[in-house]
């Protein structure tokens, strides 16, 4: 339902342009949860913004549900990493969640009562109905991010984009939120694109893991996650399949292994580091 073809984008003044992503091609099916993971500066956020229609890519195109994306399309919702700045401090939690329903492209603005009902329902999905009248800054970080997720769900999107959503919360909260996303996806059968720098997380939540190389971002690997559902923080992470997959992703992210290499059984330490891949073009300086 989402087709990304040859997506390319660069930043900077003319003459000093820095290539952020380079000919990214990716297809996402309905109901899939695709994790996008990579080292810093690999253009993950740029990719997401191009998909969301917030950026006009320099090259390539994005097609959502058969419709090419040139501005922010309908049926899409975004969750940012920085919830404290993304939630509006002058609105209550409920009004924050109801905000997207007040207009926006194509969405019919409902009556006030209708909006509030939808907001409460979305808050129920994330388990926060009793915070409706509070202000976001009165809540903990994890709860604020739940509110942001509720806000994204309130407009019933078909595609949910998440930009390092759990990067600013503590580890325990992160686990709870990961499970929340899985639950939401099961309930609503929604398609999710989740950008993260946390390798464990990318494997744990995803149906597929897409690994981007260091800038300029290109797809290094697109690995299916062959783990049973429903996932569990303890048992799933114990599985040998999880450990191996996680290690493979880890190596790919560090640029230590080309995809398709055998996963070595017992490696001698010091054997790992491979010289830079000469076939790849010169890297742009890190941000």
């Amino acid at each position: 339902m989402l087709e990304i073809t040859d997506l390319t984008h660069s930043y900077g003044p003319p003459g000093d342009r820095h290539l952020a992503i380079d000919r990214i091609t990716l297809t996402v099916g309905e109901g899939e949860l695709v994790s996008i993971v990579g080292p810093s500066g690999c253009g993950k956020s740029t990719l997401l913004r191009c998909v969301a229609g917030l950026l006009s890519p320099a090259g390539g195109r994005v097609v959502l549900g058969g419709v090419p994306v040139d501005r922010v399309p309908d049926g899409l919702a975004l969750v940012f990493q920085d919830y404290s700045r993304s939630l509006l401090p002058w609105l209550s939690v409920r009004d924050n969640v109801a905000l997207p329903l007040r207009g926006g492209q194509g969405r019919k603005p409902r009556s006030r009562a209708g909006r509030q009902q939808a907001a409460i329902a979305a808050l129920a999905t994330v388990g926060l109905t009793d915070t409706a009248q509070k202000y976001p800054w009165q809540l903990s970080g994890g709860m604020q991010q739940r509110v942001a997720i509720a806000r994204a769900l309130a407009c019933d999107p078909v595609l949910l984009l998440m930009d390092e959503p759990f990067g600013s919360v503590d580890a325990q909260t992160r686990e709870d939120l990961e499970d929340l996303i899985l639950a939401v996806r099961r309930e609503r059968d929604i398609t999710i694109l989740l950008v993260t720098h946390d390798i464990d997380e990318s494997v744990y939540v995803g149906d597929r893991v897409v690994v981007l190389s260091r800038g300029p971002g290109q797809i290094r690997a697109d690995l299916p996650v062959d783990l049973p559902s429903p996932r569990d923080q303890i048992t799933t992470r114990e599985l040998a399949a999880f450990v191996h997959l996680r290690a493979e992703v880890g190596r790919l992210v560090r640029g230590q292994q080309a995809p398709g290499d055998q996963v070595p059984g017992d490696q001698v330490p010091g054997d790992q580091v491979r010289p830079a891949d000469e076939s790849r073009p010169a890297r742009a300086p890190q941000a």
Binding site: L54, L78, W137
Partner: protein, 267 residues
């Protein structure tokens, strides 16, 4: 060096009052002993007595009322003009650059300098008074509006864009509320400027221009015991300014309840 434990609220109030009282006593002593000649400055007690008397003086109260009227009118018009202008200038960088030189040039012109000109063009009266107040009060509100818009969090703006909202909606839901505390500060600044201008204009043009504290001081300036009366009126003018400021702060707290607490939480 470290400040040590801060005294409690009541203790702070007591200190402040003690300082004030001490000053008054000192001034009185200096006057009575003749160190400060009574020909130069009247006794503190005389001034205070006059001040108390003014509170019951219907002429003075009428003048205070007239000043308040002009203040309210001028401030309201200034805000009604400055906030939309600020919105435009703050959201459209092209317009802002183009108007920059005009604005920067006009800004330091003290409105008192315009009193004579406006007086000639409009003739003395409420219209002249209000026009000058509007001109003077415009700038702080305008600049604070622009400054507040500049301060808007780009993440918040991008969030709304991500939900498909257009520019007008972003201004309405994000930029304006975000700028509101700044605008409120600008209004408070404009308020004190408005009072000063009203009094200056009234003083220079005199009672021919209508009532007002300025006219009162001009009248008080002639005649015996004038300095005490002028000082008494000045004290009330100061009190008026403080009271108006407190009212505006209270209004800000009511209208923008989230700001105080949010700013505190963010620490």
């Amino acid at each position: 060096m470290s400040q040590g434990g801060r005294p409690g609220h009541v203790a702070q109030w007591a200190r402040g009052l003690a300082g004030l009282a001490g000053f008054l006593v000192l001034a009185e002593v200096l006057g009575r002993t003749g160190i400060i000649s009574r020909a130069v400055l009247p006794l503190t007690s005389t001034v205070l007595a006059r001040a108390v008397g003014l509170a019951a003086d219907p002429r003075f109260l009428a003048d205070v009322g007239a000043t308040l009227e002009a203040w309210a009118l001028g401030l309201a018009i200034a805000v009604a003009v400055a906030v939309p202008c600020g919105l435009v200038l703050g959201s459209l960088p092209g317009v802002r650059t183009a108007t920059r030189t005009v604005v920067e040039f006009l800004r330091p012109i003290p409105s008192v300098a315009l009193i004579l000109l406006v007086g000639l063009v409009l003739g003395p009266g409420l219209r002249m008074n209000v026009t000058l107040i509007v001109y003077a009060a415009l700038w702080p509100v305008l600049f604070n509006t622009i400054y507040g818009l500049d301060d808007t969090d780009p993440v918040a703006k991008e969030t709304l864009r991500a939900f498909g909202f257009g520019r007008p909606a972003v201004i309405r839901f994000v930029s304006l509320p975000s700028a509101a505390p700044f605008i409120a500060t600008g209004i408070r600044l404009a308020s004190s400027i408005a009072i000063i201008l009203n009094i200056s204009t009234g003083f220079i043009t005199g009672r021919i221009s209508g009532n007002g504290i300025g006219a009162f001081i001009a009248d008080a300036n002639t005649g015996a015991g004038n300095t005490a009366l002028v000082l008494a009126a000045a004290i009330w003018a100061g009190v008026l300014g403080l009271v108006l400021n407190m009212v505006l702060v209270w209004a800000q707290r009511r209208l923008l309840p989230w700001h105080q607490a949010y700013a505190a939480e963010a620490q």
